[in-house]
Subunit: 190 residues, 2 copies
């Protein structure tokens, strides 16, 4: 739980006492690789903070294939933001990519946390601001780059990510077949 305190202190100032109180609003859980945290069709009750490990969000497309739209590694949040805010059914699934330690907070608990610790409004404002900034960049890439260019860009910026995540999930995130991704990788090596 100490990396979460250090993470919060990048955005706001949190004493040990405050941190103990803040952390009491969360539930800490361990999830195994491929374990689901939220299933398609379930109400999106929680936000998930990755303390250790990696989660992904995906939907099942018309062909029945899992399409990964987001990954979250250490110190990132993941949820279906639209469904979470409205406490409605999500059409996404959230699953562990690795054995992970996750801090979970429900909407009701988040509201109580924000009332007791108004500095957390600032923290979440900055978190969502960064998520928005990342989305704006990503949407631009989706307009601007071919899939091959996007893979090169992605693997140059995040080489450790490419190492860490199974290749079939990278392919799913990049909206490529695993075979086509293998072809691109072979072409880049040659």
């Amino acid at each position: 739980m100490d990396n979460f305190k250090a993470h919060l202190n990048k955005f706001i100032t949190v004493t040990d006492e405050e941190y103990a109180s803040i952390f009491s609003f969360f539930q800490e859980i361990e999830v195994k690789k491929k374990q689901n945290l939220m299933l398609h069709g379930e109400i999106c009750r929680s936000m998930y903070f990755v303390s250790v490990g990696c989660l992904r969000k995906f939907f099942v497309n018309k062909k029945g294939t899992e399409q990964t739209t987001e990954f979250a590694i250490e110190n990132w949040w993941i949820t279906d933001t639209f469904a979470f805010e409205r406490q409605i059914k999500s059409d996404f699934c959230i699953q562990a990519v690795e054995h992970s330690t996750i801090f979970v907070i429900t909407l009701a608990q988040q509201e109580l946390l924000l009332q007791k610790h108004p500095a957390m409004e600032r923290y979440f404002r900055m978190i969502y601001q960064r998520a928005s900034a990342a989305s704006e960049k990503r949407i631009r890439y989706l307009y601007e780059m071919s899939r091959e260019e996007f893979y090169v860009h992605f693997s140059t910026l995040y080489p450790w990510f490419i190492q860490r995540i199974p290749q079939y999930l990278i392919a799913s995130y990049l909206n490529l077949t695993p075979e086509y991704l293998s072809e691109i990788r072979a072409k880049l090596r040659s």
Copy 2:
């Protein structure tokens, strides 16, 4: 400026007195159709709130074509969030689609506003949360839908938007040539 107060009151509670103080951190400007608020290569100094009218954000792609990635109509914000937070040069342009009334705030003024009115942290947290939710949905559509399906989806959800925005900008937003968009529209009418 009264629609801004009503807009704020959807998220937080703002008295007339507080509103006068909040509004003093903004600069109100009028921009003509096609007037630029921010040019590619300039430092992104401000966020823009649309009181009346419509703005768009675009970049110039490798072919030299303007590629629209975002629109903002009444009660929406627009900026290059990544460049704004870091006060660095943006590789986007922001331009008026219509004659518009815009409330402008710089990063320094926003910080002063947040210090004086902490409730505005909550407001901006909720604004960015909604922006994130919208981006998550949009990224899913970019994976899931063909351009034709996206146009049908878009024009069904936002018919007034299709009426209001010039067709060549809709085409740019949907990453279609104006000719191909005309074909899709003709096909849908038949």
